[in-house]
């Protein structure tokens, strides 16, 4: 193999560090941490308003009102304090305050150090640990014990209550019904290679309906590692996930990532010439990159830069370089 040739294959990072995860805030949400704070797993980091609204109020100058500041509300005779919240802007001598009646607590799904707190925008925490990057994460930040499921498609009937409290790795693909059932059975999250647009839409609609209900939902997230089509998890990713089985991990949504804190876990880099075929008729297969062979004509008359890949069954295949990926 020419060592330069394999560098023509697009590279993807297997494990990412450091991990800076953002937790979105809206006007009225109350951060409970400050920049530089150290947080532990499960520490409350913010109160998120469920149904925020604007109130108008007069704020005395002595309270030093400013945009983004908090206003606790004034005591009223014979009553509790008035509506408090986040000061947004002043107009004609009265402040618009973002407030709400019910707030949910957002907990940090991992230990780390708070880097930035921007009320109304986001809290950014640098995780103690590393992460496996995904394509998208649906839902909210969550954590749980990693449990390996099936290698192929998980059906709703394949779930049982024994998976409660876990983050389940379900292989190539999952449907919305299974995701909804998983949430109902106390599963904290799902990691999957592919999630089709239809299942994604149906799951998000189901989530929206449940969030519209008054009760607080337990955290749940779906981390999609590869894309929208059915394909098995990459072997290199499976190896890392296998090593994490039974350990506490977290899913964050921004960036979409599976976060784990195991400083002693040694992740050997995959062999330099190890490649995965992510598109075309051989999608999902893995092998050894032999050499680049220059432009070749493929189906439909497309001329594409290609390489020879040696597959585990002993055969060689000419594959467009754009269909390949390697992990670094």
């Amino acid at each position: 193999m020419n060592a330069d040739d394999v560098r023509l294959v697009p590279a993807r990072r297997l494990v990412v560090a450091p991990v800076d995860a953002a937790f979105e805030l809206s006007p009225g949400d109350r951060p409970m941490v400050s920049a530089g704070d150290s947080v532990v797993v499960g520490a409350p980091i913010a109160e998120r308003l469920r149904d925020p609204r604007f109130d108008e109020t007069e704020v005395p100058a002595a309270a030093d009102p400013h945009p983004g500041g908090r206003w606790a509300g004034q005591s009223r005779r014979g009553q509790e304090r008035g509506a408090g919240g986040e000061l947004i802007y002043e107009w004609h001598g009265r402040w618009r305050v973002a407030t709400g009646d019910v707030a949910d607590v957002v907990e940090s799904p991992f230990a780390g150090i708070v880097r930035h707190v921007r009320p109304g925008t986001a809290i950014t925490i640098r995780a103690a640990g590393r992460g496996i990057r995904g394509i998208v994460a649906l839902g909210g930040p969550t954590r749980g014990r990693l449990q390996l499921g099936t290698d192929s498609e998980l059906r709703s009937g394949g779930l049982d209550v024994g998976s409660a409290g876990t983050i389940l790795v379900v292989g190539s693909r999952v449907d919305a019904e299974t995701l909804t059932r998983a949430r109902a059975m106390g599963v904290c999250g799902v990691v999957v290679a592919g999630l089709s647009s239809k299942e994604r839409r149906d799951f998000l609609a189901s989530e929206a309906r449940q969030r519209a209900a008054l009760h607080r939902l337990p955290p749940f997230a779906v981390l999609v590692l590869d894309g929208a089509l059915r394909r098995p998890l990459a072997g290199a990713v499976q190896a890392v996930i296998g090593a994490l089985a039974g350990r506490e991990v977290a899913i964050v949504t921004d960036p979409p990532m599976l976060v784990f804190d195991m400083p002693n876990l040694v992740i050997p880099p995959p062999p330099v010439d190890f490649v995965r075929i992510r598109g075309g008729s051989l999608a999902g297969r893995e092998g050894t990159f032999v050499r680049a062979i220059g432009p070749r004509r493929f189906t439909g008359g497309a001329h594409l830069e290609a390489g020879i890949v040696h597959l585990p069954d002993g055969t060689d295949a000419a594959v467009p370089l754009g269909d390949l990926e390697r992990f670094v």
Binding site: D4, D5, R7, L8, V9, P10, A11, R12, A22, E24, S26, P27, G28, P52, R53, F54, H66, P67, G68, I88, Y89, E90, W91, R96, A98, R118, P119, G120, T121, A122, I135, S196, S197, K198, D226, G227, A228, L229, R278, G279, G280, A283, A292, G294, F298, T299, G300, G301, A302, H303, L304, E305, P320, L321, G322, D323, E325
Partner: protein, 534 residues
């Protein structure tokens, strides 16, 4: 002592594609020696190395003349252009009527936009929109002078934006039109790290102009490849002394640059539009995007499957590029061209360009006639137009040369190499269906070709690249072909796709039924790749 290099590299690095080209000094002028396009994520030095080694292997004598040896290309000087991902701008106005021209201008000026008006949007939602982490600039505008329906809401709008500006000092604030009168609401600007910029009011039905120029300045850094395409197009127009349109469909945005050479000693000019929503595969394709791609697709997939494929195209734009993937790419490219055309309506009021140059990664693996057909399917104007491809992706790196004389000289040297002629399209409009529209005789270096013109189809005349001919059209009825008339004699030049007489409707009419539409699109495609007449 400084030794002038005999060769250098151009690199156009985008989010999806790395395009490298090797330029060498041959016989006293710069020539394109080799080029290569690879998926982004590949190692740039490895890509450059492969290209250089291929050039050395192909012509060792030329390589020796250029002082180029195996493995040595990575050390050559580089001229680079990089496509930066578009950022997000919040566009605000007092009234719904005022918001439309602002959104139309910002959306074609390199910005993803989110918008709201005091009239229709809850102030809490507007605050949330401005505080989003992804928003990096705010355009808040009003008419100059503000209309009656705006005036009563402008004060509160200024208070809202000023409050957010105080919380996010990094945010760039653009005050347009009548909003500039409310600058006092923003307090002491000298202590603010983010810019507060005054801008002219947006013009209704004219999204280009000074506000668009300003927003492009703010959106794109000076070395941005989209922006450099404007300068490259202008240099090309000057060198060729022709009206040139450059059309790019990229991973993150579509770009359109219309350049005019200087007339009567005046300076050349260029109008540049960068439209993020005209990207090849938007990150989250909604129904309108999917349906548009479906309209151009011969694949027959349902909406969900098509959306899945578009998501995959976004995630790995070079994967699955053969077979059905190639068809999907061209359908997505046509849909993106449509969006680009819609966001740049001012192009419709201009005379058609003499030369349309296609560029961007989407065309890297498509056959030449297919590219020309995709362009002419969407950017339809009655008249005669030449189409070419910036096949080595060097127009943007050349456009990034800061000195205009040097840039022009470089383009003049390379003009024969940088454009791959796709062909000439002759598109008459106003023919009657159901009967022959007349005939055309093409007299060229290889003899005479006569064709009967049947409306609704494409007629191909084999005219190789570089060959010139005269096409004499005789229509039965008066048609529009540049001007109106029945007899036309037109100078045409050949290309990889030859000379194409496009007798389809302007604008194109496609059947509603998907199967009929697919058959028709297939038939047009096939008519260009089968053996031509001549």
């Amino acid at each position: 002592m400084t030794i002038e290099p005999r060769a250098f590299l151009t690199l156009d690095t985008g989010a999806a594609t790395i395009a490298a080209a090797l330029i060498g000094r041959v016989d006293g002028r710069w020539r394109l020696v080799g080029s290569i396009s690879m998926p982004a994520g590949a190692d740039v030095d490895a890509v450059v190395g492969v290209m250089g080694d291929r050039a050395v292997a192909a012509d060792p004598a030329l390589a020796a003349a250029l002082d180029l040896r195996r493995g040595g290309s990575v050390d050559l000087p580089r001229l680079e252009g990089t496509s930066h991902p578009p950022r997000q701008m919040a566009v605000l106005a007092a009234s719904e009527r005022a918001i439309d021209p602002l959104v139309a201008t910002a959306s074609r000026s390199g910005w993803h936009t989110v918008s709201g008006s005091m009239e229709a949007t809850d102030p809490l939602a507007m605050s949330e929109l401005l505080l989003r982490a992804g928003v990096s600039a705010v355009l808040v505008g009003a008419g100059a002078p503000p209309a009656a329906d705006e005036r009563r809401l402008l004060g509160e709008l200024a208070a809202l934006v000023a409050a957010v500006a105080a919380r996010r000092p990094d945010l760039t604030i653009v005050l347009a039109g009548g909003m500039t009168d409310l600058l006092h609401a923003f307090g002491d600007l000298a202590r603010r790290p983010g810019e507060v910029v005054f801008a002219p009011a947006a013009q209704r039905d004219l999204p280009g102009g000074p506000l668009a120029d300003l927003l492009i300045e703010l959106a794109l850094p000076p070395d941005d490849a989209h922006r450099a395409l404007g300068s490259g197009a202008m240099a090309l127009a000057e060198v060729l002394d022709r009206r040139v349109d450059v059309v790019e469909i990229g991973f993150d945005a579509g770009t359109r640059a219309g350049a005019l050479p200087g007339v009567g000693g005046g300076p050349p000019s260029v109008d540049l539009a960068v439209v993020p929503t005209a990207a090849l595969a938007p990150a989250d394709p909604d129904d309108s995007v999917v349906d548009r791609v479906g309209r151009w697709s011969t694949w027959g997939a349902d909406r969900h499957r098509l959306r899945d494929r578009l998501r995959e195209l976004r995630i790995a734009p070079w994967a699955d590029a053969a077979g059905e993937g190639a068809t999907l790419r061209m359908a997505a490219a046509r849909a993106a061209l449509e969006r680009l055309d819609e966001w740049t309506p001012e192009w419709a009021d201009r005379p058609p360009a003499d030369l349309v140059v296609a560029t961007g990664g989407v065309w890297a693996v498509a056959p030449a006639p297919t590219i020309a057909l995709a362009l002419v399917d969407v950017l339809r104007r009655p008249g005669v137009g030449q189409f070419a491809l910036d096949h080595a992706r060097i127009l943007a790196p050349l456009g990034s040369i800061p000195d205009s004389d040097e840039r022009r000289a470089m383009v003049a040297d390379l003009v024969d190499d940088l454009l791959a002629p796709l062909g000439t399209f002759v598109t008459p409009a106003g023919m009657r269906d159901g009967r022959s529209a007349g005939s055309v005789v093409v007299r060229g270096p290889f003899g005479e070709t006569r064709l009967d013109m049947m409306p609704g189809g494409l007629a191909l005349v084999d005219l190789p690249p570089g060959a010139a001919a005269v096409a004499e059209f005789r229509f039965r009825d008066t048609v529009q072909l540049g001007g109106r008339g029945r007899h036309f004699a037109i100078d045409v030049t050949g290309g990889l796709g030859g000379l194409v007489v496009d007798l389809r409707h302007v604008p194109l009419r496609l059947p509603d039924r998907a199967d009929l539409r697919g058959e028709l699109l297939d038939a047009w495609q096939t008519s260009l790749v089968r053996s031509p007449v001549g």
